[in-house]
């Protein structure tokens, strides 16, 4: 087995955390809390390392002999300005807040606007891409829930039969979502256990 020490540490830490989660009694509980605290701190360090790596990738792109990518210069300059401003002024300073609210938020909001249009176009093109009853069902359900969500039928809340029909229709996606989430939960369980058993070792490179 490759990397037996890291595998043993991962299995022991994962096992203790899992048991501590399901049986929250001392000393298991305190061990779990300590391990999760370490994990959060390590995840923060990993974030910093990954950001430095991101910068190195863009520096390499900018300084490549062929196919230089000048967009990377924008990323590097923006990062340096934001980083220095953040260090000097602290994140709660009004100038830092302006950087977030006047630059980052509008850009992200515009991407959401693009997403709304993309999804509308994609929904229309769905029939070209994939015919069949599933696409028809998808389109009908999207339309029905758009109408229900718009409040167009709010006046019907007092009509006895229509009220019950609407309640049943609204419950349908909840039932479907629960079915999907149950499957996802089982998949998550077996995937996690593969790591816990040491059969999947994404940390052993």
């Amino acid at each position: 087995m490759r990397a037996p020490l890291s595998t043993a540490i991962a299995i022991a830490a994962g096992g203790l955390t899992l048991i501590g989660l399901l049986i929250p009694a001392d000393p298991l509980l305190s061990i779990r809390i300590r391990l999760v605290e370490w994990a959060v701190a390590l995840a923060g360090v990993a974030g910093l390392v990954a950001i430095l790596h991101l910068l190195s990738v863009h520096w390499r792109k900018l300084t490549a002999r062929r196919n230089k990518n000048f967009n990377s210069a924008f990323l590097l300059i923006a990062f340096i300005i934001t980083f220095i401003t953040g260090i000097l002024l602290k994140p709660s300073h009004p100038t830092m807040q302006k950087i977030v609210t006047h630059i980052q938020v509008p850009i992200e909001a515009s991407l959401m606007g693009v997403l709304a249009i993309s999804l509308t176009v994609a929904a229309i093109r769905l029939f070209q891409r994939r015919g069949g009853w599933m696409s028809v069902l998808f389109a009908i359900s999207a339309l029905v829930f758009l109408v229900i969500g718009s409040g167009f039928l709010s006046a019907s809340a007092n009509i006895p039969v229509l009220k019950d029909v609407l309640a049943a229709v609204i419950a349908l996606p909840i039932a479907g979502a629960r079915g999907i989430l149950l499957g996802v939960a089982l998949g998550s369980l077996t995937t996690g256990l593969r790591v816990l058993l040491g059969s999947d070792r994404p940390y052993s490179g």
């Binding site: 990954a50 980052q104 997403l115 079915g179 996802v184 998550s188 369980l189 077996t190 994404p202």
Partner: protein
């Protein structure tokens, strides 16, 4: 404090471990089990072959879930898929590229690539620059990933992990570039958006089947079989509970 929920949870965990171990041991002397066909994974295998032949790149994006969040299991499935794709495409001129929206996941993707190339005796193929952090907020992650779709000669995009509905922008960009796209997420809003946009959307728990369908190890097949058995158990409990409730026993 020991609770009934905790003991039941522990029972399910040990049941799942027992099933995986037993099915793994039973499967040693047999051929790999035959799973039902999932068209998306067949198409992915074809697109990997095509990418190797025409010298283009495969892009795997692993989502934005932190390793300390409960949604990271989908990213772990994505890492197993990355491992398989890196091994299969190791003879390609353009090795695959992995992007993610979390620092820990980025380091794991680099480690997975290194491990995959070592296992096919080609450690020289490893380049840490191919396991990248695309961005640390949901939208910056998508913006960084969009850059890969247009600048890295990618012919196939595999999106496996925890995303928001904004991942549809990547699938749309892949479609505009004429590239293959397979998308799977544990997030319901992302699944809904990807169903409309991606070439090959994978719904629900099928996302965790990706490594087994790409010819993964015996343990991948065993865990998939265990998942199926547990699903039947859940169905029996749900139907049984509903019947008992209807009869007024519960």
């Amino acid at each position: 404090m020991i609770t009934l929920d905790g003991v039941l949870g522990l029972g399910v965990v040990f049941l799942a471990i027992g099933l995986i171990v037993i099915l793994h041991m039973l499967g040693r002397d047999r051929d790999k089990p035959a799973f039902r066909k999932i068209a998306a994974f067949d198409a992915l295998k074809n697109s990997i072959g095509l990418a190797v032949e025409n010298g283009s790149r495969i892009h795997i994006t692993l989502g934005k879930s932190s390793l300390t969040q409960s949604t990271n299991a989908s990213a772990l499935a994505g890492l197993s898929t990355l491992d398989r794709i890196a091994q299969i495409s190791s003879i390609s001129d353009k090795p695959p590229i992995a992007t993610s929206g979390d620092g820990g996941l980025t380091l794991l993707s680099q480690d997975t690539l290194r491990s995959a190339y070592r296992s096919v005796h080609a450690p020289e193929l490893y380049d840490p620059g191919r396991g990248r952090l695309a961005g640390i907020t949901p939208m910056s992650y998508i913006a960084g990933t969009l850059h890969v779709t247009t600048h890295e000669e990618v012919s196939a995009h595999v999106m496996i992990g925890n995303f928001g509905p904004e991942i549809a922008l990547v699938a749309e960009a892949a479609d505009l570039a004429g590239a293959f796209s397979l998308a799977a997420s544990d997030s319901l809003p992302a699944q809904a958006a990807l169903y409309a946009v991606a070439d090959n959307p994978v719904i629900g728990e099928e996302l965790f089947a990706a490594p087994a369908y790409l010819g993964g190890s015996r343990s991948h097949s065993a865990s998939l079989q265990a998942q199926d058995i547990l699903r039947w158990g859940v169905i029996v409990v749900l139907v049984g509970g509903a019947l008992l409730k209807a009869m007024g026993i519960l």
